[in-house]
Amino acid sequence: MRLSYLLRRLGFLVGVLWTAATLNFVLPHIAPRDPVAEQINQKVATMGLTATGIAEQIESYKEIFGLNKPLWQQYVDYLWRLLHFDFGFSIVNYPRTVNELIAQSVWWTIGLVGTATILAFLLGTLLGALLGWHKSPKAMGALIPPLMVFSASPAFVLALVMIYFLAFRAKLFPLGRPYGFLTTVNWSSFKFWIEVAYHAVLPALSLILVSLGQWSLGMRAMMITTEGDDYMTFAEAKGLKGPRLFFQYGLRNALLPQITSLAVRLGAIVSGSTLVEVYFQYPGLGNRLGGAIQALDYYVISGIVFFMVMGIALATFFVDLLYPFLDPRISYARGT
């Protein structure tokens, strides 16, 4: 791998983080309203100045938006705090920090989104390759319209339909939540894991259906293009058998743009899961974000958004680093 490629990717990573941090800082400054002050005022109005932590909150508010310092210094301080992952306190759940809230929910999101993405990627790629393969039965073409509808729909809208039909009417799956209402959390018990997996089926399914369409339609187009290449004709003329032709010649080469898409789509996948979590009351970052939006808990909103942007940017960075190993044909002398 060329050093310049690595540096370029690293530059993007820093660029993305810096942009997100700056937006976090600038928006409350230029916005016509001040969500933090609004929320604190409301708290003072309902509970009085003596309510627990109000004084500290006002203090930390003044400190974070450093009202008594020059603007450039406020900005530098803010970046410095973000660099140390200091996102401040939750206004609604004072004195819990945003970090505590993130730590509580991040694993649920990683588990759900990670599993759904890996499954959708594998299934969708294989399905798409089969759809594009000239020896596949023609009847498979009937799958394309439904795949297209799924790929166009937002995951949370599909989630709603599934909650109604599969959970409420057919009673096949729970309506939401990560585990049963009365279950005690016990990560060392196998039964608990099964229960968690059972509760994750519907949220994961709604995410998988949406991505499945996108992965398979993309893969189908690439497979058709690949099949037109000369080396495929040559391999077939050599007398290579179907499976080898399909996996090692077709699929292997058509797969590369899928990896690029993975890097590009991560953001959309995480955004989609945010709403799905809200609609399934799944205790991940998205649900936290949804709750913070309802309560106008600005530090939690901006902290979680920054954290998610960071996670996506890092994941994209690693997928990008992986790419040159998968595709030795491309020279990275001048970036992508």
Partner: protein, 310 residues
């Protein structure tokens, strides 16, 4: 025009997409004749009614002396044809008005995305390698790596009171991230097109840069531009649905995403109110599928290489 219809006949994706979209436009435009707009807002009628006609009201149509009276009576009769929600909104009225509002947001995002995308895409593509190109391309790459929806959440939760957010504000908010993708897509098309002989020819005959962009490149990229438009509209609609699905925006307005938010708020799925769920969901899926089909169909014109060769 006849050529257009003949082409659409051979391109079913484009045909279906345009057909559904025109159908939805007619639904929201013609639908307005049969509804009373006020029924789309709270406390208009009885809550939680399943779909059905109000036969009593319909029977009285004949008794009304004036045409306006007859129409009003017809509106009363059709009020519950899609059922009502828990706030006593007529779902027919909500969906007719909401589809229009959501399309408006999409149109704003589309105009914004395509406008800026075209301008930046053509200029950076034609003057590739210039300082402007380097700056714009880097910004586009950074914006594309950021999860657009989360940025929208951040912006929407700090702009003016979300409860007073108008269709225009909502449209502008979702446009913030809509320009980056068209810019990159158009730029890459221009990059490949600018090496073609007819552009060389134009250069040799001393046409200026802007002239070449307007007269030679743009007409050739028209299908591509329309495709970018469809994509931007899709992005805008999707972004607005997501924001409204989280309850951001004016909750009294019957945006399609807001209808979904209220479904969840009143747990309509636990109360077996299937009509409240199925109707807006179908409209949303139809609208988004139509936009995807249009973009898919135009892709076939824009990139003839992806035409179904098998």
């Amino acid at each position: 025009m006849r050529g257009f219809f003949a082409y659409v006949g051979r391109n079913p994706a484009l045909g279906w997409g345009l057909g559904i979209l025109i159908g939805l436009l007619l639904f929201t435009l013609v639908g307005r004749v049969f509804i009373n707009t006020e029924d789309a807002y709270g406390l208009a009628t009885k809550p939680d009614l399943p779909p059905g006609l109000d036969r009593e009201a319909l029977a009285k149509i004949g008794e009304m002396p004036t045409l306006k009276g007859k129409l009003d009576q017809l509106r009363l009769g059709l009020r519950h044809i899609f059922g009502t929600d828990s706030q006593g909104k007529s779902l027919l009225a909500s969906i007719v008005v909401g589809t229009g509002m959501t399309l408006e947001i999409g149109a704003i995002a589309g105009a914004f995305g395509l406008g800026i995308g075209t301008l930046l895409g053509f200029v950076t593509g034609y003057y590739a390698g210039s300082l402007l190109d380097n700056v714009v391309t880097s910004v586009v790459d950074v914006v594309l790596t950021m999860p657009g929806f989360l940025i929208l959440v951040l912006i929407a939760s700090s702009v003016a009171d979300p409860n007073k957010m108008s269709v225009l504000t909502m449209g502008l908010v979702v446009s913030v991230t809509a320009w980056a993708f068209p810019t990159r897509a158009i730029r890459s098309q221009v990059l490949s097109m600018r090496e073609r002989p007819f552009v060389m020819m134009a250069k040799l005959s001393a046409m200026s840069g802007p002239e070449i962009i307007l007269k030679e490149l743009m007409p050739n990229l028209l299908p591509y531009l329309v495709m970018s438009l469809a994509n931007s509209v899709y992005g805008g609609v999707m972004g607005s649905l997501g924001l409204q699905g989280l309850g951001i925006g004016d909750r009294r307005q019957p945006y399609l995403g807001m209808i979904i938010w209220w479904i969840q708020y009143y747990s309509a799925f636990l109360r077996g109110m299937w009509w409240w769920i199925i109707e807006p969901v179908s409209i949303i899926i139809l609208l988004l599928t139509a936009l995807t089909l249009i973009s898919f169909g135009l892709d076939e014109i824009a990139n003839p290489r992806t035409r179904r060769s098998v």
